[in-house]
C-alpha cells in the first residue's frame, strides 16, 4: 500500500459561543491515500464540512481546533499562515457546494481561473495562463471554451459553473481535492455529468479526493472508502462494499434504509425519526441512541468507542457484535 497523503489524528473542532462550546467535530481520525476517493457522509450539521474547512484552516475566528493533520510530512494545523496559503489551491484545492455564489460576479470565468493559476505561479505570463485556463475549461467539458472563458459567471448555467469551479480547482494539479457537496445545488442529470468530470479529472491528475456529501447514491457510484459521521463523531468507516453491504452500525443502516428504492420492492420510505441532537454541551451516551430503534440502556450512559471490526472497517456502536457475523468482512 502506498504511503497515505493525509493522516488526520484526533481532530476536534469546537466553536466558542456565548452559550458554551459547540463541539462540531470530535476526535476525527482518518487517512487518505494518493488517488483514493474518500466519501464523508452524514446529515446536515454532522461535522462533514467543518472537518474539511478545519483542514484548510478556513474556519471562523472563534474556532478551537486540536489534533494533528499530517499532509505530506507537514502538520496543516500547526503551520504558519503564509505556509498554509501556499498550500491552499496548490496542494489542496476545494470545490464548493453552490457554484452560483462561489464565483466573483465582476470577473470573467477565464480571469478567475487565470488568477487561481497565477496566485501560485507568478512567473507564468497572463497569456500563458489564459491559454491554460481555456485548456482547463476544455478538459472539464465546457463547450467552446475560447468564447466561454471570456464570459461572466452569470452567463453560465449551474452545471457549467460547477465545471468551471472544477477547472479552477485543478488548475495547479493539487494532490488533494476537497469537494464539499459538489453536486447538491445541481439537478440530477447534471449531477451525473459533473461527477463524471470529477472522476476523469481525478484519474488524469492522480489526485486524492475527499468527497463530502449526503447523497448515498453518489457515494456508491464514486467512492473507494466511506466515512459516516453523526453529531460530530465518526460512526462508521470502511470500504464502499463494507458500508453498503456489511454495515455494523445502526445509524449507517438507518441511512441506507431511508433511501428510496427504485425497484419498487418497497412501498414506504423509512425516514429516521427525530432530529440530530444539539452539539452544545453534549451529554454522555451514544449521540444516536435517542433515535436508534436498537438502543439499550448502556447506549444512553456511555459513549461507544470506535471499534475495529475488520482490516479497513471500524464502527462506533455498543451492539457492534450483533451486526457483524464473524468473518463476513474478511475475504
Amino acid at each position: 500500500m502506498t504511503e497515505p497523503l493525509l493522516v488526520v489524528d484526533n481532530l476536534s473542532v469546537g466553536f466558542a459561543t456565548k452559550s458554551g462550546v459547540v463541539q462540531a467535530a470530535t476526535d476525527i481520525s482518518f487517512e487518505i491515500r494518493p488517488g483514493e476517493v474518500l466519501a464523508v457522509v452524514g446529515e446536515s450539521g454532522s461535522g462533514k464540512s467543518v472537518t474539511a474547512l478545519a483542514l484548510m484552516r478556513l474556519h471562523p475566528g472563534n474556532t478551537v481546533i486540536t489534533g494533528v493533520a499530517d499532509f505530506d510530512g507537514q502538520d496543516l494545523l500547526a503551520m504558519s499562515d503564509p505556509d498554509m496559503r501556499a498550500i491552499r489551491g496548490r496542494d489542496i484545492a476545494m470545490i464548493f457546494q453552490d457554484p452560483m455564489t462561489a464565483m466573483n460576479p465582476v470577473f470573467t470565468v477565464g480571469e478567475q481561473i487565470v488568477e487561481a493559476i497565477r496566485v501560485h505561479d507568478a512567473g507564468m505570463s497572463k497569456q500563458e495562463a489564459w491559454k491554460k485556463s481555456v485548456d482547463l475549461l476544455q478538459l472539464v467539458g465546457v463547450p467552446e471554451p475560447k468564447q466561454r472563458a471570456s464570459q461572466y459567471p452569470h452567463e453560465y448555467s449551474g452545471g457549467m459553473r460547477q465545471r468551471a469551479m472544477i477547472a479552477m480547482a485543478i488548475s495547479n494539479d493539487p494532490k488533494l481535492l476537497i469537494a464539499d457537496e459538489p453536486t447538491t445545488a445541481l439537478d440530477v442529470t447534471v449531477q451525473a455529468q459533473v461527477m463524471e468530470v470529477l472522476h476523469e479529472v481525478q484519474a488524469q491528475t492522480g489526485s486524492a479526493m475527499m468527497l463530502i456529501t449526503h447523497d448515498l447514491g453518489l457515494v456508491a457510484g464514486s467512492a473507494d472508502r466511506v466515512q459516516v459521521m453523526y453529531a460530530s463523531r465518526l460512526m462508521e468507516t470502511g470500504s464502499v462494499d463494507e458500508i453498503f453491504y456489511e454495515s455494523t452500525n445502526p445509524y449507517t443502516r438507518a441511512l441506507l434504509e431511508s433511501i428510496p428504492d427504485l425497484d419498487g420492492k418497497k412501498t414506504e420510505l423509512h425516514p429516521i425519526p427525530g432530529n440530530p441532537p444539539s452539539l452544545l454541551n453534549v451529554a454522555d451516551g451514544c449521540a444516536f441512541a435517542p433515535r436508534c430503534t436498537k438502543s439499550i440502556d448502556e447506549c444512553h450512559q456511555s459513549t461507544p468507542r470506535l471499534v475495529q471490526v475488520g482490516a479497513t472497517q471500524a464502527s462506533r456502536c455498543h451492539l457492534v457484535d450483533q451486526f457483524a457475523p464473524v468473518g463476513a468482512w474478511s475475504e
Binding site: 496559503r85 491552499r88 489551491g89 476545494m94 455564489t101 462561489a102 464565483m103 466573483n104 465582476v106 479552477m168
Partner: protein, 361 residues
C-alpha cells in the same frame, strides 16, 4: 438565432415580452463585457443621459465660452454698473461694472473644481477606512466607527466656519476641509458593502485557492464596491457644491476678486428687490450642476450593478408599456399598473387585487 442577436436591433434588447428577454439572455452568442452592458444600461436611462449632456454643456459654458468674451472676470467698468442682461453683457453687470457672464463662468469652474476635488479626497479617505473597518473588523471597525461618529457629532457649520476661514482661500484648502467632513458617508457605504461581500462564498473560494488578504481586498472586494461608491461620489459632488456655495455666501470661502456661485448670490442679495435676475442666475446654475450630477449618479447606480443582467431598465416606458399590454392580454382583465423588478413583473389589476406575474411568461 432570433433577430435579437443582430447588431441592428442591439438597442431593442429591452424586453418586449418576457420570453424575448429570456431569449436575449440565453442565446446571445458573443458575450458582452461588463463595461459594455453597463454602457447599454446607462444609455437606456434617460435622466442619466440628460444629466451627462447637461454637465458637458455646463463644462463647455464655464471653460470655453469666457475665452471668447472681451471681458476679464475682475475687469471693472464703473460706467456700466448694475446693468441688466443685454447683448453686450449676457448676464448683466455687478455693482462695480464687472461682466457677470464671465464671473458666473468663473464661479461655476470654481464650484465644479471644488466639488470634484473634495469628492475625490473624501472618497479616497472614506474607501480606505471603510475597507479596513469592513474587512478586518474588531479594532479597525471600532476605530473607524468612532471616527465617523465623532465627525457626525461635530456641528458642521461651526467647524467649517473656523477651518474655511483659515484654509478656504485656496480651492485645495477648502476642498480638504469639506472632504474632512464628508468622508463619513463613503466610509459607511464601503464598510457596509464589504461586510456583505466578504461573507460571500466566492471570497471563501478565493481564500481556498490561496489568495492573501491584500489580494482578496483589491481583486475581489473593491471591484464590487465601485458601483456603490460611484453613486456616492456623484451625490457627494452635489453636496460639496451646495456647501461651498453656502460658505462662499457667508464670506468664508473664496476671496474677492475671485468669484464662486455662492459669492455671486451674496453680492447680489442686497438688490434682490430691484434686480432679482442677478441673484437668480448664479442660483440657477448651482441647481443645474447639482441636478445634473445627481441624475448622472442615478444612472450610474443602475448601470454599475454587477448583478443586473440585461440592458433593461425598470423605468423604461417602452418596457413597461409592453409588459402592461402582455398582462392585460393574459388576464383578460384591465391591468392598471405593472412594475418591473429584476425582470419579474408585478401587476396590479384595476379592482385592486394584485398577483405575481406568473401569467405573463
Amino acid at each position: 438565432m432570433t433577430a435579437l442577436d443582430s447588431p441592428k436591433s442591439e438597442s431593442d434588447v429591452q424586453p418586449a415580452t418576457f420570453t424575448d428577454t429570456a431569449a436575449a439572455e440565453g442565446l446571445s452568442e458573443t458575450p458582452k463585457s461588463f463595461g459594455r452592458l453597463a454602457w447599454e444600461r446607462f444609455l437606456s436611462h434617460r435622466l442619466a443621459l440628460v444629466g451627462a449632456v447637461g454637465l458637458i454643456v455646463l463644462v463647455l459654458l464655464f471653460w470655453i465660452a469666457p475665452v471668447f468674451s472681451e471681458y476679464e472676470f475682475d475687469q471693472r467698468n464703473v460706467a456700466d454698473r448694475k446693468q441688466g442682461p443685454s447683448l453686450e453683457h449676457w448676464f448683466g453687470t455687478d455693482e462695480i461694472g464687472r461682466d457677470l457672464f464671465v464671473r458666473t463662468a468663473q464661479g461655476g469652474r470654481y464650484s465644479m473644481q471644488i466639488g470634484l476635488l473634495a469628492a475625490f479626497v473624501a472618497t479616497l479617505f472614506g474607501t480606505i477606512l471603510g475597507t479596513l473597518a469592513g474587512f478586518f473588523g474588531k479594532f479597525w471597525d471600532v476605530l473607524v466607527n468612532n471616527m465617523v461618529n465623532l465627525v457626525l457629532t461635530v456641528p458642521a457649520i461651526i467647524v467649517l466656519s473656523v477651518f474655511a476661514n483659515r484654509f478656504g482661500a485656496s480651492a485645495g484648502g477648502l476642498a480638504l476641509v469639506l472632504a474632512g467632513l464628508l468622508w463619513t458617508r463613503i466610509a459607511r457605504v464601503v464598510r457596509g458593502v464589504i461586510l456583505s461581500i466578504k461573507e460571500q462564498e466566492y471570497i471563501m473560494a478565493a481564500r481556498a485557492a490561496g489568495a492573501s488578504n491584500l489580494r482578496i481586498m483589491f481583486r475581489h472586494l473593491l471591484p464590487n464596491v465601485v458601483g456603490a461608491v460611484a453613486v456616492e461620489i456623484t451625490l457627494l459632488v452635489g453636496s460639496v457644491i451646495v456647501l461651498e456655495s453656502t460658505l462662499s455666501f457667508l464670506g468664508l470661502g473664496v476671496k474677492p476678486p475671485n468669484a464662486s456661485l455662492g459669492t455671486l448670490v451674496a453680492d447680489a442679495k442686497g438688490d434682490i428687490d430691484s434686480d432679482p435676475i442677478r441673484v437668480l442666475t448664479p442660483g440657477i446654475f448651482i441647481v443645474l450642476i447639482v441636478l445634473c450630477v445627481n441624475f448622472l449618479g442615478d444612472g450610474l447606480r443602475d448601470a454599475l450593478d454587477p448583478r443586473a443582467k440585461v440592458a433593461d431598465n425598470a423605468n423604461s416606458r417602452k418596457a413597461k408599456r409592453a409588459a402592461l399590454k402582455a398582462a392585460t392580454l393574459s388576464t383578460g382583465r384591465p391591468v392598471a399598473n405593472v412594475s418591473l423588478r429584476d425582470g419579474v413583473a408585478v401587476k396590479k389589476t384595476v379592482d385592486g387585487d394584485s398577483d405575481d406575474g406568473g401569467g405573463l411568461s
